[in-house]
Subunit: 355 residues, 2 copies
Amino acid sequence: MKLLSKTLEGIKPINQETMSEAIKHLDSLVKPIGSLGTLELLAAQLAGITGEISSSFEKKCTVVMAADNGIHEEGVSACPQEITAAQTINMTKGLTGICVLSKHANADIAIVDIGVKGDLNTAGIINKKISHGTKNIAKEPAMTREQAIQAVETGIEAVGELVSQGYKLFGTGEMGICNTSTSSAVLMALTGISAEQVVGKGAGLTDADYENKKRVIERALDINRPDQNDVLDVLAKVGGYDIAGMAGCFLAAAYYRVPIVIDGFISVVAALTAYKMNPLVREYMIASHQSEEIGYKHAMNILKLEPMLNLHMRLGEGTGCPLAFHIIEASQAVIKNMATFEQAAINDDFLIDIR
Amino acid sequence: MKLLSKTLEGIKPINQETMSEAIKHLDSLVKPIGSLGTLELLAAQLAGITGEISSSFEKKCTVVMAADNGIHEEGVSACPQEITAAQTINMTKGLTGICVLSKHANADIAIVDIGVKGDLNTAGIINKKISHGTKNIAKEPAMTREQAIQAVETGIEAVGELVSQGYKLFGTGEMGICNTSTSSAVLMALTGISAEQVVGKGAGLTDADYENKKRVIERALDINRPDQNDVLDVLAKVGGYDIAGMAGCFLAAAYYRVPIVIDGFISVVAALTAYKMNPLVREYMIASHQSEEIGYKHAMNILKLEPMLNLHMRLGEGTGCPLAFHIIEASQAVIKNMATFEQAAINDDFLIDIR
């Protein structure tokens, strides 16, 4: 709890002064004011986060939190639970979506076993296992409050360690069969939005399975009665280690003043829990892609963020993050390398007119 | 006309067989079927275009058509006309938006002077000037039918030349003050949609100027009465050299079986004119970003395409293309480098279930 408290207290707003300077510079570039849209907003936000007008994000990393969920025994997923462990191991071999997209973006991944069922013992996986998966939230709390705090702090530590290694831009990913169910439960608990509006079909559910998924998640909320105003209670009772760990990543990014990218549904729910712990965290977040999961937009609306990419993706793993990294870096190319009107020797009459 | 006819006749559908093979391979990768959304659709489309399951797009280029528009004298733009020449020259120096975003994407640009007012005589600009800008469409046709054909053929030749140099992926850009006006006129002529729905404010117009812009474009249509069913007539009477040149780029891409990216409003109107000349062209097109210009979505709806990026951009120059290149190449990383279920040694029970 000490690390969590220290982190929450250490989060400060982004630097408005540097942000203003960045905007002033962006407005001096050879283009109509604001015509590069989100690229300009990103450049301004990144200046505010880092305190530098422009940055190099050569070292960048998506942190993948891998964990199992006890709710699997309720038949809410079409996938066998062993897929979590299998895909986590596959990530160490560069075989999965997040691996190939990260490599394409010249980015790294950090794979954290925060609660996978079974012993992985595989090089390339950071072993922070809290337990062998959570309990079945349709019957009892997923974890204790202490375990929830431990999971959040695991995320804080993971990002802290990577910051100390020189990483300057982060993504958030996960691997955990049934984590759309736990994310839905957390989102419903925090917002009161109904299962019909939040619960998606996930990967390959039949219509009957889908109905069952919604009823099981409702039951989880009925049985556990998480306190809407106590995020840790919500995470402990109906969440998962992965969501809690990702929440910690968001908090740490704000604490260390580094930008952090939201992937899809699970990631945005984790972002929301972090935001509920300290609303300033939001200023450090960047949304990547519009997830196909129906709950995504509700969480995004509360955060008042907007995704840059519309790719109809619903894979998870953090796959939206490396794609967003490229755009984030493009914003730095703009602010660093575009000429000002002055440099471009377009005379002042033009300068006034075009802007 | 010979080159245009030959090109139109030489355009064939994309290769359905290779596309099917690509889809089959994509479905065998370690992810729920279709969960990488547009990345998978892109990979399938690219396979159909190229006839190869996967490709390397190392050499890629955005063709920038630069031209002036006689309608400038009607006060439809806040910018002095000289900006066209100045920014075209700035492109040769790497100073503008398309330059820095292309460099960031490891892509090239080809700058074609297809009708800039004044002599540029600058290294790095391909001189294909048809005349020193078009005539004022609010008073007379922009150009002759012969000039329209010459402009389209200039685009065809430009892409043909770049294909012979080994370029395998194309973008379409432009530089031409007042080309949102000419694009609006072309779109209105082709679709019958009203000025209110099509004409945007462009860069920095006052409300009064904006009203004037709409009235001037309506007048251009009234005076010239372009034939809705004759694209060349529309281009000649109310278009611009840049739009016609870009239309040629789209036709050539389909002819040479290389993918070509649509940028924003002017680009999508050019794409639409190419589509009206031969609907098969559409299969070779990839939409990049959702332009802020209000006419964009009308043209996109007719083409039944969907942009991947939502960045609120309205700069033009082709700036959406290099950003899309990264995503296009990401689709190739997926199809080339993700493991199949078999390779990832996830057993067959899982394989059936997860998909």
